[in-house]
């Protein structure tokens, strides 16, 4: 029996939204392999996150213990491997977030499981499941087979629909036996970047700036705030120290797929495009008519962003 275990992610008792993508992938997998699907939420005081997930029609195993309070890989990987074994899971599916990428490989090696990262789609036929994933910064797609008895993968949250709410779910507490003495890493602090804006990964609209801002993100953030959008940036802008690291959109930053992506003063390096080409509508505003970003933009405007962006704002304000 090829059971499927979906690892969800929570933060302070709230389900993190990227968790709903692996649930969709896990359901498709269970349908194809004929296995039973359950989900796993780990933490301490994480019951409400488990309830949130169960409202999507899935049986949620809740591992709630002091040793799991912080998302330390040693503890969470050990607990994940333990629950996977107890659930006779041959597939582990998790979100390709910092948490998923930190924890799942460590659990996979404990289970002798081969793993695929950043999966975009399930391929292959019937129960012969291949996983489609990007390689070489998204310049190539690979279809890979995991040849070990237990298999694990993380999915890119933008590539699978978020599972919808559904009846029939429940929360089942599970005991895990992680010895606190064997968890050597110690959590010191989390320095959160606080923002009133939506998270990049979740936003319906993203307004992003690059080298063309010359360090002045004023027009970018103003347009974003008018639209209730998240703010993104190219690697050049982040490397220059103009904006925080976690604004970076691209292969080495965040991968986003909003309804509307506005790239202002961004040339459109492959690295950046890999992080936003899944957007429904892409707008490019750039002074350089030859900028590669125009090759992928639905609407391109050759203009100085310092004139065009405020003008666009007044159009929007005027309806």
């Amino acid at each position: 029996m090829a059971n499927v275990l979906v690892l969800a992610e929570q933060s302070r008792g709230r389900l993190r939204k990227p968790s709903l993508a692996p649930l969709t992938a896990g359901r498709e997998l269970a349908r194809r392999t004929g296995g039973a699907l359950t989900a796993l939420v780990m933490g301490h005081g994480a019951g409400s996150a488990a309830e949130e997930l169960a409202a999507h029609g899935v049986t949620v195993q809740l591992a709630d213990a002091p040793v799991l309070e912080h998302p330390l890989a040693e503890a969470h990987a050990a607990a994940l491997a333990e629950v996977a074994t107890a659930s006779a899971a041959t597939w582990i599916v998790a979100p390709a977030t910092a948490y998923g990428k930190d924890v799942v490989p460590r659990a996979a090696v404990a289970l002798g499981a081969a793993m695929a990262t950043d999966v975009l789609a399930l391929a292959g036929e019937g129960s012969e499941v291949l996983l489609r994933r990007p390689m070489w910064a998204g310049n190539v797609l690979a279809e890979v087979e995991l040849a070990t008895p237990v298999k694990a993968f993380t999915v890119r949250p933008t590539e699978f629909a978020a599972a919808a709410q559904a009846p029939g779910g429940s929360v089942v507490p599970v005991a895990v036996h992680v010895d606190p003495a064997r968890v050597r890493a110690r959590f010191v602090a989390l320095h959160e970047v606080k923002s009133e804006r939506p998270e990049l990964g979740d936003a319906r609209v993203v307004v992003a700036g690059g080298r063309g801002t010359k360090g002045d993100f004023g027009p970018i953030t103003a347009l974003a705030d008018d639209l209730g959008a998240a703010v993104g940036a190219s690697r050049a802008a982040v490397d220059a120290g103009w904006v925080p690291n976690d604004w970076q959109v691209g292969q080495t930053g965040k991968v986003v797929a909003p309804d509307l992506y506005v790239a202002a003063g961004i040339s459109g390096a492959i690295q950046h495009v890999a992080g936003m080409k899944g957007s429904r509508v892409i707008v490019a505003i750039n002074k350089d008519a030859d900028a590669p970003v125009f090759q992928i933009a639905d609407y391109g405007l050759v203009a100085d962003l310092f004139q065009a962006v405020p003008e666009l704002r007044s159009k929007i304000a005027g309806g």
């Binding site: 890989a73 910092a98 948490y99 490989p105 793993m115 050597r184 490397d239 003008e311």
Partner: protein
Amino acid sequence: MKILVTVKRVEDPESKIKVRPDGLGIVTDGVNYKLNPFDEIAVEEGLRLREQHGGEVIVAAIGGDPAITELRAALAMGADRAVLVRLAGGAPPDPLVASALLKAVVEEEKPDLVLLGKQAVDDDQNQTGQMLAGRLGWPQATFASKQESLESEAEQKRLPGVARAADGASVRVAREVDGGLEVLELPLPAVVTVDLRLNKPRFASLPGIMKAKKKPVREVAAASLDVPLAPGVVVRRLLEPPKRKGGVKVQDVAELWKKLHEEAKVL
């Protein structure tokens, strides 16, 4: 402080990568190779820790003769010596196999700290460090990062990058997570994987390059390490990604607004 840094030879990210017509590999004609950029950052961090605390930086790679080129590149940056796990054959090993081979190297060298790039820019798997830490049973901190713009000493202490404690028994690591930076303290020995913004790697100097030629490269045969070499991740075929078609150029903001409002209906 004895530091082991892993280095992988990868296709230069600036090279154009194209899928071979048979879909079983990439076109290698005209492709340049270099040290994985994330590993370069790991080497740099190892050198900085050695400069602060003394000790030794050992670089390790898996592969054939071409891998020696990248080991020499790391030696030219300033690493002290190198280990090559000699493995013949085409594609590099997957993370499950690579982590098993590296574990054997770690058990022989007994470093205090293992530094790896968070991922290699060929397979983009981002697993080997975590798997190595799991195999060794060592604590791990992935995605080590730093905000170079932090000027004051207090700020730097708060977000240390990778910093060794005064007693030499642990490291503090600031790591990039979704929504901020997390600081962990790891007792040594430990495994740390590094992210893009941890440091700016130095260029090898000409004397560095000359010296690197004489630095020792020890070889170990992968077959002698009692590690199963069968791949866990089997690439069945490679495809070109779907091309996104360019759309239209608009003349001015008024037209852009009209298109977004009436045609795309996103505003």
